[in-house]
Amino acid sequence: MSALVIDSVSKNFGGVQALTDVSFSIAPGERRLIIGPNGAGKTTLFNMLSGAFPVSSGQVTLFGRDITNAPPNLRANLGLARTFQITNLFPNLTVMENLILALQAQHEHAFSMFRLMRKESALFDRAQALLSQWGLSDIAGARAREISYGQQRQVDLILAMAGAPKVLLLDEPTAGLSAAEVVRVVGMIGDLPADMTVLMIEHDMDVAFDIADRIAVLHQGCLIAEGTPDEIRGHPQVTEIYLGAD
């Protein structure tokens, strides 16, 4: 069974046709890259998958279950996690508190008023472990808005990974990072469990072709090509879009 099936998804923002009849499916454990010029509709596609906005038409299926009209929190609880192109953290909370919220999301105690947060030591330990795993222990106590942009992007990624999702959507995780930070983040993505399905939007072609099992190319809201990195490399229309200026 496919991890995710995108079937004829279209999105119209009050006249702007952001997506037109996009269909493709992703196998479990696949590393799927989505590329395309600015404004191609990549982020919009993620918003359709995560439920941030409703589709105009079409259907989205997660492990055989129709989630087209499911609210975002339900999709998350079904194992679909995402990052945001524009960093979306809890800015006035500490990095530790950010992680706690991510870890607590699937926890039955999250709604409890009768427990004390500071006594939830199991959660703190797990958050601590995640931070040290990614070498970010020394910013645990800093507010998310006070850390560097590169660190914020990494925390954004960790928040999405923290709940061990089945399908992870990454929206340009390397954008705006220094070369060294790109290496770190690509390393983090490489270290994800092999059975986790990853959809990733990436503007850097080297990074994209390096990570991808398969690539989907969006252009002006349409899927113009889909296949292995080799197939995409030789695809005439893709070459035209990317190299047309030459």
Binding site: G51, N73, N88, F90, L93, I100, L101, Q104, F111, L116
Partner: protein, 317 residues
Amino acid sequence: MKTTSPARMALFLAVAAALALILPYVLTPYYLGLVVKMMIFALFAMSLDLLIGFTGMASLGHAAYFGLSAYVTGLTALTLGWNVWLALPAGLMASAVAAGLFGLLALRTRGSYFLMITLALSQLMWGIAFGWRSLTGGDDGLPDVPRPRLWQGYSLTDGVSFYFFAFGLIALSGWLLYRITASPFGQCLRGIRESETRMLALGYDIWRYKFTAFVLGGLFAGLAGSLYVYYNRFVSPDYIHVARSAEVLLMVILGGAGTLIGPAVGAAIIVALENVISAYTERWVMLLGFVYVIVALFAPNGLTGLIESLRKKRAGP
């Protein structure tokens, strides 16, 4: 995370408790009454802080629950002769139900739309209190509400026993509010304040959290309102008016939203100010505006924020 050591916290609480026990025997009845009023508004402000400071829901109609509970407690005590064990819960129940119903509508919106709809709903309630003369006495209000009657033949008629009654309930409420904000639920409220979209993407049913916080805020505001009707022995549409909602909002902002203790202090300051210049009502509104401007310009995070930043400065860069 805030780093107040448990030892210092315990000391602070012990001093506060000792002070609270001594006050009735050192203050004149007039000033003891003023302290009770401060405590009631401290509770009212803390209840609004749960919405604004913790959840990021800026309500401009919080007096609706304060006033409704006051009316229900006052009316049932006056006309049905209910004692405090019935009249007070009846008020709380009414304000919680109203907060639930209004929440269903208001929580469909956010930001300034939320502000407007909470304002509109509270003014609707004000209109009912004002217009339904046969029940509410209209703008004359309901005078001669009896002091809380604990059982047949025993009412809290003197200032000292009413002080302890109010102090007990308000201290308990303050503790409950603290526990709520320090719980996993409270942490989720902060998450919603910081980023609703991220909370949704993490899998939180944020509506459920916001609705619960809204009803709890209404409930504690209701308790403040019912205590105030017993305190004043009077209730009028002013209890519900938007001016009162704005005043409690100012208390929260002056003290520092999202801290509970800040809004409580803010309430005490505003009540004290009001007491000093009570004779001139127009000046009072002007002064509130003036305080608001000063806070917005020089202490946008309220007094607690100001103290925090001064402390940081002294600790060095």
